[in-house]
Symmetry: C2
Amino acid sequence: MTQRVRAATLGLTVGVMHVLVSCTSSSRSTPTPTPEDVMRTPNIVIITADDLGYGDLGSYGHPNIRTPHLDRMADEGQRWTSFYSQAPVCSPSRAALLTGRVHLRSGMYGRQQGVFFPDSQAGLPAEEITVAEALRDAGYATGIVGKWHLGHLPEYLPTRHGFDSWFGIPYSNDMDRQLPNGMDNRTAYFRPEIEYYQVPLMRNEVELERPVNQHTVTKRYADEAVAFIRAHRNEPFFLYLPHTMPHMPLFRSGDFEAHSSAGIYGDVIEEVDWAVGQVLDALDRFGLSENTLVVFTSDNGPWTSFQTHGGSAGPLRHGKGTTYEGGMRVPGVFWWPGTIEPGVTQEIGSATDLFTTAITLAGGTMPEDRPIDGVDLSAVLFDTGSSPREEMAYYRMGELFAFRKGAHKVHFVTEGRYGLPPERTEHDPPVMFDLRVDIGERYNISATQPEILAAVIAAAERYQDRMTAAEPLFDLRGER
Amino acid sequence: MTQRVRAATLGLTVGVMHVLVSCTSSSRSTPTPTPEDVMRTPNIVIITADDLGYGDLGSYGHPNIRTPHLDRMADEGQRWTSFYSQAPVCSPSRAALLTGRVHLRSGMYGRQQGVFFPDSQAGLPAEEITVAEALRDAGYATGIVGKWHLGHLPEYLPTRHGFDSWFGIPYSNDMDRQLPNGMDNRTAYFRPEIEYYQVPLMRNEVELERPVNQHTVTKRYADEAVAFIRAHRNEPFFLYLPHTMPHMPLFRSGDFEAHSSAGIYGDVIEEVDWAVGQVLDALDRFGLSENTLVVFTSDNGPWTSFQTHGGSAGPLRHGKGTTYEGGMRVPGVFWWPGTIEPGVTQEIGSATDLFTTAITLAGGTMPEDRPIDGVDLSAVLFDTGSSPREEMAYYRMGELFAFRKGAHKVHFVTEGRYGLPPERTEHDPPVMFDLRVDIGERYNISATQPEILAAVIAAAERYQDRMTAAEPLFDLRGER
């Protein structure tokens, strides 16, 4: 159900459907599209923040952090209140976004390790098809500006996975630690210096700078994104812009020091918001706004164990690393002026669905030789129907911790806040919440609703039966 | 600081300032204002909901409850993110809103009782000056549609306190209980019938109906409000519209049954939102929108001990009855198209300030024979300056539990959730939170910031020294 806040522009929806048909034949073999093609095939920009929480934007209810550009996107576009990352931590979430597949299928999980590290020996397997590959095949210029985190060895880099260009960092900004003698990790997180984190900045497959100057990384991402848009303004393009911030340690440029009343975390979000504004401004300036879908989301919930240096999940429970809603339900804003009507939707969507949605909009070819978990969200975006997604699986370290079916969510296993000692609890019988009336997951109704409980458990079992997991690749670490 | 989301209309602000000067001479002695006067003296409408939480509106981040009319007010008007009721429960909060004075000054508190009951022997003292009295003296027609809760005996009714007319109930909708034999209170709250609560519906000083049909009370309030606006469309008017809902027990009309995906609580909020829309539509229809200030707020935070039948404080801690932010920080939306610029402000304001602000805007006369705690919020509303309010006192049962000065809030005493056995905790040293970076009041910094702690404690002591408390009147109960 979409809540209208602006007048309808239904006529345009028909136009879009027409485009889908007319564009299915576009491919890499037509690298120089006519101006007519450009007007018909939407550019696609996916912007993510790192560890930004459900409640961290003005339009999602934060009292203090000011996000006028993201609020503009929400005001002019479609704001989702049940939009999910596929995982509560970084690498698996990004794998799912790019491949349209639950991260277990590509081995993007571990039993000991939750993400990739600088000594990881693996990466996103070559046989995985990313949205960048599919869109490049459909005639798109493809670029990534930002954090990759799907393998840093040469054969796993973005340039080997469908992206024409890359400017960014290979893994998280808190890795490659070289802390002063005697300094513990937590102290460094709260009082970081650039040289504590010897993370490289890459252009394509070449190291530009090491350690990356994290004070300027958000600003440089914005500049690179604008340059990419400018360079490709006359052809269809796909830009993936996964910001490094607000992952700890927090850095921002001088322009954003004490910019926010909400402390350094607010500063960092407000600089990411500014960077989003740079992209929107560039699209406006080049006359591309009405021909570009811009999506904003986060890779997982807020890192709440960092207290005032972590974000807020708003009314949701817990954050990053957990399979409570705060760990995986994130902002999801879709902006495409003139085509997507302004509104708010409670339909269920996932970053995994961006793969299918983007390829469908671009008239690309969906892989047919493998299971794809992403669904096409177009019906919700264009207000012609409801979301094909009625279920959400919450995995942690390859294990199904929780499962949502419609309004109801069942927890089989829960853990406490990420970054603190895990307090693993196995629930027998499972705990069940009604997310419609209990957004904070506080009131267990499994005992009073046994039939619904059984139905959700059965759906989870069917889902698990269909889930084909590859061997976990995150645990492969060591010298190479 | 006001975050602009729309183009400025600064020129109008000057016009308003001019009006203030030109209208100070208007009074009851000019009962038939010219059309020019009507255009210059704004109508004032204050709408409150009962136990609605900070996080219960779409514009304040609720994922499921749809409030398009209140969101319209927020979108077109000024949304406050640090707006407070003066107390965490009903009667004292309403006393402060109407008198511009902390409720201790008028005796609107108790040592044993937190609010008025059907056997209370007292009410708001005759010598108190309400905003209705002051505006009536300034030439306004005055009406209240909704719940009073400041004394139900004849001498304390709204009609004795400056209101020309009243349609509504004298106290809370869960009072005058006549439950079936053996039914406990909590069961009745969750499965209420009209006849369980023998609350009267009043017109002026006459009982219209008993028990009030709570299924239709929100709808009838809307109808009465529209009728009041229609009747007074050619003169300045003040309408106070304190809704009965969403105070437990929850009732809504047939039109709103299963209206919301958020259960019965969502239904009830969505009907209140509809009622707000009726008021806005009437103002539009009668051409009064650009000459009317509409304020929406709540009397206190959500009654969270009722679980899924209570609301949400969003990212704030706890709710009704507590002096954590969730108990007293509430939505505060100011709508006056063409005069108040769209935006969001983090300035501090209180319902107590509506008294001073309204009288100032109306060119009325402020009482000079008594302390007034409310401040004029015009500078924030018209974006000409910051709020004169930098402090907030959090009283419970006449006792100062907490105090905010700027960003910092100190708790001297805390209690657990309202409706559950109080777990009173006295804090020595007091607990201190920085509300800028710690909106959920989780990270006590009193030990690490001793100088700030001392400054806030000193400010609280100065505040207490200035606070003149009358004898508490809520404890006077019994046969009369």
